[in-house]
């Protein structure tokens, strides 16, 4: 099968949906003629023009609130934040409005709104362009939260987002945007709430999020040499969270590590740990462990930046420690 990048895969899903559904439009800064800072909309402006690819002033709160209103009244807006860090100015519109309106209207209004942006640490992007923030959205009822890690998943999950009537936070890690993978040309969807077993193994389960999936798979190669076979689970969506797949794996392995670049306290690792302890306590042969990025703003200098992100070496060590526990 042909191979394309993750960002091309997402764009393919977008292009197909826009061709079919005239109610879809995209807003953002530079998503018109420029085609998106991360090439999220390349070529689409020429096809669909300014009404459906609308460049925006630097008014994140404004255009998120606007798109919430549009989603309630018959269209399917996509907000392309470029860097997801810029979403913070719109938290009121998201948490108090977009997430609540279906509920408050008893389901009489829908909220088919996609919020997309690039996440993650890397390339000395520094502290205002390295955030992820998904725990905040997972905490709040009303959102779907998607973190694809392969081109195949990105296309299928974005296609699902494009027909969902719920607000979907779609987060692509900057460091994997240009990773290539096999992707069918035809359209397909991947349901939310189904984790992917990225690697099978029987000694230990690692749930990895976003860019940590790739690093964990690298760590697994080294661990395999030492005879440790790790099962790697990529949750793909954090809400809904497919805890059954994790529990099934822990039932087999008895050991669980969660690897997540983002901050530890009240993070997704805490939630996974808590659920596994609640529902799979008897399967656990050792404490559930978490490996997170450092609890500090993301610094710029390469030496400092490297120090705040979990690396392959640390993942190897965390698994070894867990196996010894």
């Amino acid at each position: 099968m042909r191979e394309i990048t993750l960002i091309e895969a997402t764009r393919e899903a977008l292009a197909a949906a826009m061709a079919r559904d005239k109610t879809i439009f995209v807003v953002g800064e530079g998503i018109g003629p420029r085609g998106g800072n991360f090439n999220t909309t390349t070529g689409l402006y020429d096809l669909y023009g300014p009404e459906r690819l609308r460049d925006m002033p630097i008014s994140e709160r404004g255009f998120v609130g606007m798109c919430a209103g549009a989603a309630m009244t018959g269209s399917r807006p996509i907000v392309d934040f470029m860097f997801v860090d810029f979403i913070l100015d719109a938290m009121g519109e998201l948490i108090n409005q977009a997430a609540k309106i279906q509920y408050m209207s008893s389901g009489r209004l829908k909220m088919p709104l996609i919020l997309r942006g690039c996440i993650g640490i890397g390339h000395s992007a520094a502290t205002h362009h390295s955030g992820s923030y998904f725990p905040h959205f997972v905490n709040i009822p009303g959102f779907r939260v998607v973190v694809p890690t392969t081109p195949y998943d990105a296309k299928g999950l974005f296609a699902t987002a494009l027909v969902s009537d719920d607000p979907v936070i779609f987060l692509e890690h900057k460091s994997i945007l240009f990773h290539k993978g096999a992707v069918p040309e035809e359209e397909y969807t991947i349901p939310f709430g189904q984790a992917r077993v990225a690697r099978a193994g029987q000694h230990c389960t690692v749930v990895a999020v976003g860019a940590m999936v790739g690093k964990t798979l690298q760590a697994c190669e080294r661990l395999a040499l030492a005879g440790i076979e790790v099962e790697v689970i990529d949750p793909r969506t954090l809400n809904p969270l497919d805890i059954q797949t994790v529990l099934a794996s822990v039932h087999k392995t008895g050991r669980l590590l969660i690897v997540d670049e983002t901050f530890q306290p009240c993070g997704i690792g805490a939630e996974i740990a808590a659920q596994v302890v609640e529902q799979g306590f008897d399967d656990l042969d050792a404490p559930v462990c978490r490996l997170n990025g450092a609890y500090a703003p993301t610094p710029y200098s390469p030496t400092l930046e490297a120090a705040v992100v979990p690396n392959v070496e640390e993942i190897v060590r965390a698994v070894e420690t867990l196996m010894a526990a």
Partner: protein, 339 residues
Amino acid sequence: MSAQQTTDPAPGQIDRSAALECYRVMLTIRRTEEQLARSHQQGLIHGACHTYVGQEAIAAGVCAHLRPDDAVFSTHRGHGHALAKGMPPHELIAELFGRATGCSRGRGGSMHLFAPEIGMMGTSGIVGPCILQATGAGYSFQLLKTDRVGVAFFGDGAVNNGAFHEGLNLASICRLPVLFVCENNQYATEISFAYAAGNPQVGMRGSAYGMPGVTLDGNDVVAVYQAAGEAVARARAGGGPTLLECRTYRTRAHAEGMRDVGYRTQEEVERWKAQDPIARCRSYLLQKQAVAVDALEQIEADVQTTVTEAERFARNSPWPEAATACQHVYSEPAQPASH
């Protein structure tokens, strides 16, 4: 009871039937609010209750031009907008009573009124969002090639908020069919707009966004009707958004049961009570539209009956089932993983 016009809603002078309908709407709001105030004292309203008393001309005059498929978004002080958009009083009262028959099924109360069937797209307990959401409705209506319009009602307090700035600018640059209706009642809770705003002239702010801005007497339903008519017609015709500043006054406390002293004088309140929009409309009908007194008295009696029955309906309505408390968080439940 509905504010929708059967006659041509084109801009221009209000005609007699439109004026009579405005009178009915205003009176319905007033009587409903008075009922809610009594109900609040009786403990039938569990949360907040922000009445619209004194500001009725604005909702009535604007909504007179709207169709059910036009979209209204409003604030914490939204009872009047809901009623003017066509919500029957019993659905509003039941909502404040927390009953399953309320417009929001008891989920919302005074600050969260939803009736999308009639284009009442929601009120918000947070100041600001309605401005942006109305802009978004305008975006949909433009994209979908309709002549529908979005309307935001908000207070002077929202004018100092970033949502006002960003929303008006977005509507302007996209030339969206939206009305921004600022009800400048001169106070945000106890903070006067003159204190809170570096420049307390709202109408002239339109120019900062390249859109028409109009300041008018918000207690004169005839003036509101005319200005809103022009703005709605312009919006429907693709002429873009308008900012309307309606100068008005709330004559009751910010919310029922709240202390209402210290931040404004009794004299000021009385001065504004003398400008009561309903009394002024009544005089106008009698004097300028030659309506007979008994026609008005008939309306007054009808409205009172409606409101009295609405209160009884609400009081006798069932409570929402606790078991429903978690429904509709999502449009569809998550698909279970297949294992």
